[in-house]
């Protein structure tokens, strides 16, 4: 017998085949890793203060480019989505928002994938997009 036919990291690909909840799971992972990378980079950036004002200013200039603005906009988006979806998950994982268990009738519609949950995911994505647009507006003085 072969060892487990593990889907592994390939399971992260094509999240849409399992619906918006799997997309949210995928985004939560990606944004979590992205924010961790930003956090590490942020510590490195702020530690440049120890080398004096000139070093700090030259570090800040990195974010004053188009690439820097796009990067910061992505950080804003990741932060807002991760927060919004994180609150949804904390509430859901405490067992709230599903209603009561009941005898299922065909064509079985899972209570855990209800509209309240889907709406929270769409709102989190929408808020992240809005925050990114606002952030870009501020950075480009629009």
């Amino acid at each position: 017998m072969e060892k487990d036919r593990k889907e592994g990291i390939r399971g992260m690909a094509n999240p849409g085949r399992y619906g918006i909840e799997r997309v949210a799971y995928w985004l939560m992972r990606i944004t979590g890793l992205g924010l961790l990378a930003y956090f590490i980079g942020h510590i490195y950036e702020t530690s440049s203060l120890l080398d004096g004002k000139a070093a700090w200013n030259s570090m800040l200039e990195l974010t004053q480019t188009t690439e820097g603005h796009i990067f910061l906009a992505l950080v804003i988006g990741m932060c807002v989505f991760h927060t919004g979806n994180g609150i949804r998950l904390m509430i859901a994982e405490a067992g709230f928002g599903f209603g009561k268990a009941r005898r299922p009738d065909y064509p079985y519609t899972p209570s855990s994938l209800n509209m309240k949950n889907k709406l929270c995911i769409y709102v989190s994505i929408g808020l992240a997009a809005l925050a990114m647009m606002y952030g870009l507006g501020v950075m480009y003085d629009v």
């Binding site: 017998m1 487990d4 067992g95 268990a101 009941r102 079985y108 899972p110």
Partner: protein, 256 residues
Amino acid sequence: MAAIFPVSSQEKHEKTKPSAKSITLRISKFNPGKDHAPTFLEFPVSYEKWTTVLDAILEVKNYHDHSIGVRYSCRQAMCGSCGMIINGKPKLACFTKISELNSNVVTVEPMNNFPLIRDLVVGFERMFSTHKRIKPYIVREDSEISSGTKEFLQSPEDVEKYIQFAGCIKCGLCNSACPTMATDSTFIGPQALAQAYRYIADNRDQGKDKRLRIIDERHGIWGCHFAGSCSQVCPKGVDPAMGIQLLRGYLLGYKK
């Protein structure tokens, strides 16, 4: 009284005429003991509105390639034997009509996150052992069959609390779709966790604390990230994701 009209041979022919619709069925072939890598065999299969993927596989097995390994039994989504990946998603082959797939190519592969035995057949040993681990039976001191006790009565409301989760046929589709199972070999899995909830929610049961101790670990209930894919693919409406989150409610003290 209803009138009976003889059916002409022309009409008979029309009714039994095979469908013009056909698909290409791609079947994964791999024997871990002999082959180096999986290959896909392609077969043209004609189908009717009611033809299931299992019907198509069995037609290929009967008339084209007898060596195809496939497990099946009841053909009516009750035994849970014919779970497989159909066009990228875990489904029961007997419960999936070709006409509903809206594709000219139907690809069938063995389920993910299970050890492969051969072709479309996977081993269920691990799933059955995790299922047993959560004590899938009523735990209590007294018994319905010992003298001096009567049957444990339940109200319809009591039954409603767990009946949804009692519908599990152990087909393994939830474990196959689970993204945590995909990367964590020691995760207990949505099937076993949903069954833990099924017995904890049963008011005849007194084994709640024992079961919560078993699942309260990193590779137990806390390994679930609520992607909901298990509930998405469950063919019986069990909704394992809901059971797992309700179970967390017990562990976090929000539910008694």
